[in-house]
């Protein structure tokens, strides 16, 4: 049978080792799915994603759209009767997907912005003018107008390999 899926316990273990210690506590009650705003209007099922993680169905999980449906609202975590750190586990699996090169272009853009200016969005001229008109500095006192701070910020991203991960600026 071609659709038989082979569990990979090593993948499940790698999630646990990365910090998802509560993964195996899940007993599949489905409270997470019932609480999930993303699952209301789509086929995304939190319970199913966690079950796949327990089984280590790596090839189902890492390239999937499902992995990116979570808004990290924590409704599931608040209600989970087993205290599974569902959002943390999803984030750890996203890290693994990104390491394998699964990353939407629009998300890469946010990463590139962080590398370039230390912020997720750029400054705009009308905002600069508004800032000045209110008596604020034209640039906020962040990495924005501070080359030394930006160099430090970028250096940290180089040490952790973030620049390579998102394919440079």
């Amino acid at each position: 049978m071609s659709n038989v899926k082979i569990p990979d316990p090593a993948f499940a273990q790698s999630i646990i080792d990365a910090g998802g210690k509560t993964l195996d506590l899940c007993y599949q009650c489905g409270t997470c799915t019932a609480s999930c705003p993303s699952g209301r209007t789509t086929a995304f099922r939190t319970r199913q994603l966690i079950r796949k993680a327990q089984l280590g169905l790596k090839d189902d999980i890492l390239p999937s759209e499902d992995l990116w449906m979570c808004t990290t609202c924590y409704s599931c975590v608040e209600r989970c009767p087993r205290d599974v750190d569902i959002v943390d586990i999803i984030i750890l699996m996203r890290n693994m997907a990104v390491a394998k090169g699964y990353m939407a272009e629009d998300l890469k853009k946010v990463g590139r912005s962080l590398l370039k200016i230390g912020a997720t969005v750029p400054m705009a001229d009308n905002i600069k003018q508004l800032r000045v008109s209110m008596g604020l500095s034209a640039e906020p006192p962040t990495t924005a107008g501070d080359p030394k701070a930006m160099a430090d910020f970028r250096k940290i991203m180089e040490i952790t390999g973030f620049d390579k991960l998102i394919g440079g600026q």
């Binding site: 608040e78 962040t142 701070a149 930006m150």
Partner: protein, 284 residues
């Protein structure tokens, strides 16, 4: 004497998209006796959904750098955004729980001449207004009581995960409703009040249409409850509600950050609230 306890963490969306939130926060806290310190050179928190989803080690090290900037000044951090609060609070918690992780992060920080001990507390401005100041002190400064009919939007990372944050009941919180009531306004109940705005977790960046479906559900419920304004405590939720109404005509519900609402109630000039940056016009 002014209170020097807090350093103001700006994040990205407030200073770069809705600077009125930054200005109102500065002025409101000044009026309440706080001398907010600058976190010069701070960067993105970094965003809990997007950046943490890419690489948690990077997220943690950059968050630790921000925490270290406040620690060097002997300050706690005041955040004005649920995302910044979520990231910095969670990162701080992880570092303080795990000495090995703290050590690892400090070897990275050492490369840029910094160090983090773990002494900073990360706070959310709304919770500081409620817990540190309280109704008496805040109401004393409210010279311009408002009589608005509003929908409170808590957002997700303000109260959750509640097992770490202990801010309020994560299902039926009251804090933001009470903070709104202190201004003389009414916080109206509406269906699915604790639902996410849709922007978080990288969803807005990756699939704006899907994020919009969350926002539309919320706007429908808010309209049905006959609220005239949305009051938020997060510039990212703020942006999602405000800018989404370009694509969702017919609602026309202005979006106001709690700091701006407090600015109004404390009689700050409207020119200090930056309402010009709002997509849905605020006529107050």
């Amino acid at each position: 004497m002014a209170n020097d306890k807090f350093a103001l963490f700006l994040g990205c969306i407030a200073p770069l998209r809705y600077p009125g939130i930054e200005k109102a926060t500065r002025d409101v806290f000044k009026a309440l006796g706080y001398n907010l310190k600058e976190m010069t050179g701070a960067g993105c928190c970094p965003a809990p959904g997007v950046i943490r989803s890419f690489n948690q080690a990077t997220w943690l090290a950059l968050a630790a750098r921000n925490l270290a900037i406040a620690e060097k000044q002997g300050c706690d951090i005041l955040t004005i955004c649920n995302g910044c609060y979520g990231s910095l609070f969670d990162a701080n918690h992880m570092l303080n729980e795990d000495p090995e992780l703290m050590k690892k992060v400090n070897t990275i920080l050492k490369e840029v001449g910094m160090h983090y001990e773990g002494k900073v507390q990360v706070r959310h401005f709304a919770e500081v207004l409620f817990n540190d100041l309280g109704i008496e002190k805040v109401k004393q400064k409210m010279t311009n009581p408002l009589n608005l009919n509003v929908a409170a939007h808590y957002g997700c990372h303000f109260t959750r995960p509640s097992k770490l944050k202990h801010i309020d009941d994560p299902e039926r919180p009251r804090m933001l409703d009470e903070l709104i009531e202190w201004t003389g306004s009414k916080s109206v109940p509406y269906a699915d009040k604790m639902m996410c705005c849709g922007a978080g977790g990288g969803v807005r960046s990756r699939d704006a249409k899907f994020a919009l479906s969350f926002t539309e559900t919320k706007l429908k419920n808010i309209k049905a409850a006959k609220a005239d304004y949305i009051i938020d405590v997060c510039p990212f939720c703020h942006l999602q509600f405000d800018r989404s109404q370009r694509d969702l005509p017919g609602y026309d519900i202005p979006v106001i950050h709690l700091s701006q609402l407090y600015g109004l109630a404390m009689g700050l000039p409207k020119s200090s609230l930056g309402l010009e940056a709002h997509e849905v016009k605020v006529n107050l």
